[in-house]
């Protein structure tokens, strides 16, 4: 599951985001409404094609016109765009202010934070 222990995450958050802490499970995730967890994309009407397909589609259309052949299919190249497998994957964790505002204050809700397990630091934030 988690690549970093809660203590490690807490340390990184305290260092990089003073005034915030990792949200407790009983505080919920960044979601406060019940999330439709059963088969998360069961509701989705469509999914997104691979990046390689996206790239070829839009550049092919621009330079070769809509009817041009997709040579990738016949050439069957490896997927250039596949994400790198990294055993030290990053994590998105919910953080919440040390001193939360009034529960009705939506601005003080927990927020997602991207922590690099490899670099042991915050590399991105929700919002």
């Amino acid at each position: 599951m988690s690549k970093l222990s809660r203590e490690e995450l807490q340390k990184i958050i305290a260092e990089d985001l003073p005034g915030y802490r990792v949200a407790n499970e009983d505080e919920g995730s960044v979601a406060d409404a019940p999330v439709f967890n059963e088969g998360i994309n069961a509701n989705a009407e469509a999914e997104t094609p691979d990046l390689s397909d996206l790239r070829v589609k839009y550049l092919r259309e621009k330079y070769l016109g809509g009817g041009a052949a997709n040579l990738e299919t016949e050439d069957a190249p490896e997927n250039d765009s596949a994400p790198e497998e990294d055993p030290t994957e990053d994590e998105i964790v919910a953080v919440t202010p040390d001193n939360p505002a009034h529960p009705w204050d939506r601005g003080g809700r927990p927020k997602a934070t991207v922590v690099s397990a490899k670099e042991k630091k915050v590399i991105g934030q929700q919002g």
Binding site: A46, T48, A69, G124
Partner: protein
């Protein structure tokens, strides 16, 4: 080494001839004979159709080696990429009927020059051929040493190369050559035809060639601007002087900002296998250092190196790019698994090629390899049969590791004199012409001297007074779509019946009458009870087929009028490998892009924008009547913890500050002023309370802005990185529960809708949670999307089109430096969730 058995059957032999490519720098031309099959790879320099300075011409060499009289015929002609020193003299030889080919495998000219059909890149500079010539020369290999007539000839050849290349293809086509345009056409038939000599095209893939074409396109624009600038600074310069000022000895160090490396990276990589031996040729492919600012291309180069390595060892490996440091290295040597024989092509006056680094690498392995180079060996012939290869060379010695750049005098560039910019009074004066005043628009043309100047144009237009349209009894021009501007052909779509329920019977009728009166294309027959886009999108696609000139789709009404699509922003493979995470949307977002899908693949071909009704006819009317913004004033507010937004805001035109919250709060004095043409908001948002956006660190968590900060009238464009900023319903897509109704936001509860109700041209934002980069240089997650949108918008694209183009730009760069599973997933989400609210045109 054992000499080749002379009795061996010539049909079992392979002969690789690295042709003498003459006195110039660079240049590639290789004739391969596999038994009785002949392959010519590249055509040296343009002038090598004739003997020069003691070097035999290319046709002379071909005729001798192939034992043919002119016209010479080869079985296969390969032009690896669109550089002058590879296309060389082939166009001339073909035009003069001195060279024919049965088959030709050539880089596609449109891709090689990065030309998108319909894009008129050059016309703005057509009046000054110096600009076009200089830009054409800048895409070639830098010719630092050239002077005088030789430089003039190089420049003239650069300018005409594209035309001569296209003419060459047309002539070959007329003569019956079977041409395969690489990147555009399948190579399968070619592979079958030359299966007997083991032709295998290792790459690059079509995706790779297209990515390179896009870079060539962008950098060619930059080259034109750069060329125009130098003549703007000094109009007395000739092209040769301008070239020498730009192309200085350290020119290679700025390779990343010129098209050359991307052109090289389109080089066709071919492997031949004959009688159990393999041979590899790769034009100018930069295997070692791609020198392009593109993660996808860099990944592709790595992949191609792996593919080449899997084929190794080779009987002969032509070191690409004239043995440049960006083509070969110790690491690549190791990947070639004991390949024993190397060679490269370069003209006699080559200076920096072969590079010292490459020569040192080869020298390190001198006991294991043999190495030939045409700059010092002239014509080289390598003969492969049952025994050891036989090496013939016109001059010099095998394994010459001496660099050419010893004691080379390099011309010192002249300093560019600074001249004061002439004022309009010194030259031409602005000329304004009213060219048309018919119909809905007044067309004004302004011709302004192309100097550093500022001209203010004010045009007062009075109504014609004859615009009332009769026929319905209602005020049919009550809603002036686009404020009366000329708009491109757009397809407006809605469900009339559903809209009636949301904004009223009379209001809907007025609206629809207005569309008809103004000859807008409207499809208002979507079913009123549709709940999923899969029910409505096919109907819109039918309309798009009937209106092929539509440049965009504008949805009129909220999600309960025209359903939005619940979209998994991730590909299935990526979702399966996604670790547990706290993304608040589970990477599921609302998207309207399905309504721009023309070909049924679920992805848009044209931009889509939406005017959500918010249960208010007034909102819909105001948004539709948007007359389009100017660009004289900017405004913005960012979260103090989002420094990346400062860089982006600074690139916006106009004056106006970027306020920072924590310091800025909604009720501050002086009040936050958002009355601007371009508004940029990088704050926290929320999917329940959309009436305010927050910064961080404010006392009592006060919001940065709320609805009270919106000006009464607003004509501008808003772009936000706020979470759920463009969510117009109360439920994020990932939280939709089947059977549970979805509530609509209104202009009184949503900043996005509030802006539209005040007349905003567009509100661009996310339907889910947004992610910001926090590490410099902030070029990942939301950062590149923000920059790409504003860049496209300020280049003159309407907001909907600018977002569409920004997404394509974003796709090209994905993943932006950070390539892990979760990071890639975040960028997919950024890509798919951004949406354009408002008219957008």
């Amino acid at each position: 080494m054992t000499p080749l058995n002379e009795a061996a059957d010539a049909n079992d032999q392979t002969r690789i001839h690295l042709l003498d490519v003459g006195p110039d720098e660079y240049g590639d031309a290789i004739l391969c004979q596999f038994g009785d099959r002949s392959v010519l790879i590249d055509g040296s320099h343009p002038g090598d159709h004739q003997p020069r300075e003691g070097h035999p011409s290319i046709p002379q060499q071909l005729a001798t080696l192939l034992e043919q009289q002119e016209p010479i015929t080869v079985d296969l002609l390969i032009i690896t990429h669109a550089h002058q020193d590879h296309i060389g003299c082939v166009p001339k030889l073909v035009a003069d009927e001195r060279l024919n080919a049965t088959w030709a495998l050539v880089i596609d000219p449109g891709l090689g020059w990065g030309r998108a059909p319909g894009e008129d890149r050059d016309s703005a500079f057509a009046e000054d051929p110096r600009v076009l010539t200089l830009a054409a020369a800048l895409r070639e290999e830098p010719r630092i040493k050239l002077t005088g007539e030789a430089l003039d000839q190089f420049l003239a050849d650069a300018l005409t190369l594209e035309d001569r290349y296209n003419q060459m293809l047309a002539t070959l086509d007329q003569r019956g050559t079977r041409i395969i345009r690489f990147g555009r056409q399948s190579t399968q038939a070619l592979g079958q035809e030359f299966a007997d000599i083991g032709l295998k095209i290792i790459g690059p893939s079509q995706e790779h060639v297209l990515n390179a074409a896009e870079i060539i396109n962008n950098l060619s624009h930059d080259s034109l601007e750069r060329a125009a600038d130098i003549f703007r600074q000094d109009n007395s310069l000739d092209v040769a002087s301008a070239y020498k000022r730009i192309v200085t000895p350290d020119f290679d160090s700025i390779d990343v900002v010129r098209p050359g490396p991307a052109v090289n990276l389109q080089s066709i990589i071919t492997r031949f296998e004959f009688k159990g031996k393999k041979y590899l040729f790769a034009g100018d492919f930069q295997f070692s250092k791609p020198e392009v600012n593109s993660v996808p291309l860099a990944n592709s180069v790595r992949r191609l190196r792996r593919k080449v390595s899997q084929e190794a060892p080779f009987a002969f490996y032509k070191i690409s790019h004239h043995a440049s440091h960006n083509a070969f290295s110790e690491e690549i040597y190791d990947e070639l698994n004991g390949t024993p024989l190397f060679g490269t092509c370069a003209g006699q006056s080559s200076t920096h090629h072969p590079s010292r680094d490459v020569l040192n690498t080869l020298r390190e392995h001198r006991t294991e390899i043999k190495w030939l180079r045409t700059d010092r060996n002239g014509l080289v012939t390598l003969t492969f049969g049952p025994g050891e290869p036989q090496i013939k060379k016109a001059k010099g010695r095998v394994n010459d590791f001496q660099p050419n750049d010893v004691d080379i005098p390099v011309p010192v560039p002249e300093p560019i004199p600074k001249k004061p910019a002439p004022s309009p009074a010194q030259g031409q004066t602005p000329k304004i012409v009213v060219s048309s005043a018919r119909g809905e628009v007044v067309e004004v043309t302004a011709k302004i001297p192309h100097t550093t100047t500022r001209v203010t144009i004010t045009v007062d237009v009075s109504p014609r007074g004859d615009q009332q349209v009769s026929g319905t009894g209602a005020a049919t021009d009550a809603v002036r779509i686009g404020g009366g501007r000329a708009l491109p052909e757009l397809l407006f779509v809605t469900s009339r019946d559903a809209l009636v329920e949301h904004i009223g019977q009379l209001e809907t009728a007025t609206l629809i009458d207005s569309f008809h009166a103004q000859n807008m294309t409207l499809f208002d027959s979507l079913p009123a009870n549709a709940t999923r886009s899969s029910e409505t999108a096919p109907l819109v696609r039918e309309q798009l087929e009937a209106h092929p000139n539509a440049r965009g789709v504008v949805i009129v009404g909220g999600y309960n009028v025209v359903p939005s699509q619940i979209l998994d922003s991730l590909p299935s493979g990526l979702r399966q490998s996604l670790p547990p995470n706290d993304d608040p949307d589970r990477f599921i977002v609302w998207s309207d892009e399905i309504y721009g899908d023309l070909d049924g693949d679920g992805l848009p071909e044209i931009p889509v924008s939406r005017i959500p009704d918010g249960r208010s006819a007034s909102l819909v009317y105001r948004a539709l009547q948007s007359s389009g913004p100017g660009n004289s004033r900017r405004a913005g507010v960012r979260n103090v913890a989002r420094p990346f937004a400062r860089q982006i805001f600074n690139e916006l035109p106009g004056d106006g500050p970027l306020l920072v919250s924590k310091m800025a709060v909604f009720n501050q004095n002086p009040a936050i002023d958002l009355a601007a043409d371009q508004v940029y908001l990088m704050l926290h948002g929320d999917f329940v309370d959309a009436s305010r956006f927050w910064g961080e660190g404010t006392p009592n968590n006060l919001e940065a802005i709320n609805l009270s900060n919106l000006p009464d009238e607003f004509k501008g464009v808003v772009f936000t990185g706020c979470c759920w900023g463009a969510l117009t319903v109360d439920t994020p897509a990932g939280r939709v529960v089947p059977g549970r109704s979805i509530g609509l936001k209104t202009a009184e509860s949503s900043i996005a809708l509030g802006f539209l109700a005040r007349g905003a041209s567009a509100f661009i934002g996310c339907t889910g949670a947004h992610y910001s980069p926090t590490e410099e240089p902030f070029n990942y997650f939301g950062g590149p999307m923000h920059r790409a949108f504003w860049s496209a918008y300020n280049a003159g694209k309407p907001p909907a089109q600018a977002l569409f183009d920004a997404k394509i730009d974003y796709i090209r760069g994905m993943p932006h430096g950070r390539t892990g599973v979760l990071q890639t997933a975040i960028e997919y989400k950024i890509l798919r969730q951004y949406t354009c609210l408002g008219l957008g045109w």
